[in-house]
Amino acid sequence: MLKFLVVDDSVTMRRIVLNSLRNLGYNEFVEANDGREAIEKLSGDSQINFIITDWNMPVVSGLELVKAIRGSEKLSKLPILMVTTRGIKEDIMEALQAKVNNYIIKPFTPAVLKEKIEQILATN
């Protein structure tokens, strides 16, 4: 059973991602407004096994969140899908260097979200 942590400072985007996940048949979610809140949620809920995060967020950014997760012994293996507006090559490379599992550029389509989740699940 997959339990998603959806991290985005935009309420609209969180709702869109959650709607898309529901349409794909997933029903277990936790939400966070920024990277710091995400870390708090992760430390309090060991059931979370998939992270979908934005990049540009206040307090702790998505990239910092990815680095924090990869640097944590307990959480380092969690699959992370980054969903962001940042679409230049250098950004994608930076995210990959931080070890995100996959990368979606907003605006995304449901098909792309499905494809990326499945790709991550297949390789994990």
């Binding site: 985005d8 400072d9 935009s10 309420v11 609209t12 985007m13 709702r15 869109i16 709607n19 898309s20 349409n23 990049w55 540009n56 967020m57 206040p58 950014s61 962001t84 507006t85 940042r86 679409g87 230049i88 090559k89 250098e90 994608i92 490379m93 930076e94 990959l96 260097q97 996959n102 990368y103 979606i104 550029i105 907003k106 605006p107 995304f108 389509t109 449901p110 792309v112």
Partner: protein, 248 residues
């Protein structure tokens, strides 16, 4: 003897002074034009500092307006999402009921077939069954309604997906706000250089952290995603050296 030397020195100094006065007289028009220029430039400089102060005072209002636009669009987007969610729920309920009707009709057809084979040949009964079977053709209409409901549900979902534009525009507006903030900082610095008095209304502070993407764009072509996919798929074969090269 000493007095004559002193007198000579005095005459020399007077000659030098005479030359200096001569040069001074030549400089007078230049100095005069410099004074005139200063007279002209002072009100001009006053105008500049006043303009800077006015522009600076307008900046908080501009940022406030941007904040209002962001808040209003977020509120409107939330309302649209609420309506679309409600619509989707109603559509799902209707589709569920429709499926129940279709299922019930299928069962009714099965029962009718059983009646047909059980009842002995009777022209009146056969005619009634025939009429009933004609009504059964409405099932096709029910299926069409079902397809239409599914299409409406998909369209509602697509509306939801299009609302990603709100996040993208709010990032663009944040970028504009940041830009306006930078301009204000420049104006403050310029004013401080021109005028000892500090500008008021300096509540807009620039934060070091950028929680927006200045290049955010609502592009649905998929080209950027394709580029991201190709980078990711090639990532496994990309060496650390190649990645490092991008950042050097």
């Amino acid at each position: 003897m000493k007095t004559s030397e002193n007198m000579n020195q005095l005459f020399n100094k007077l000659d030098e002074l005479k030359i200096l006065f001569g040069r001074g007289i030549k400089l007078i028009p230049i100095i005069q034009s410099l004074v005139d220029f200063m007279k002209e430039i002072v009100p001009f400089m006053d105008n500049i500092t006043q303009s800077i102060a006015e522009s600076n005072s307008k900046i908080p209002k501009a940022t406030n307006q941007i904040n209002k636009v962001t808040e209003a669009t977020e509120l409107a987007t939330t309302e649209i999402l609420d309506i679309v969610d409600m619509m989707s729920e109603h559509i799902s309920n209707t589709a569920e009921m429709l499926n129940m009707i279709i299922d019930r009709d299928r069962k009714k057809s099965e029962i009718l077939q059983k009646i047909k084979s059980a009842v002995p040949a009777d022209k009146q009964i056969e005619k009634l069954i025939e009429e009933y079977e004609k009504l059964e053709k409405d099932k096709i209409a029910l299926n069409t309604i079902g397809d239409s409901l599914q299409k409406i549900k998909n369209d509602a979902y697509n509306i939801t997906m299009s609302l990603q534009v709100q996040d993208i525009t709010s990032q663009q507006l944040s970028a504009v706000k940041h830009l306006i903030g930078s301009v204000q900082m420049r104006l403050i610095s310029l004013n401080n250089n021109l005028n000892e008095a500090s500008l008021e209304n300096t509540e807009l502070k620039l934060t070091g952290e950028h929680s927006f993407d200045a290049n955010a764009d609502y592009l649905k072509s998929g080209e950027r995603q394709e580029m991201a996919d190709s980078i990711i798929s090639g990532h496994n074969s990309t060496s650390q050296k190649e990645i490092d090269k991008l950042f050097s």
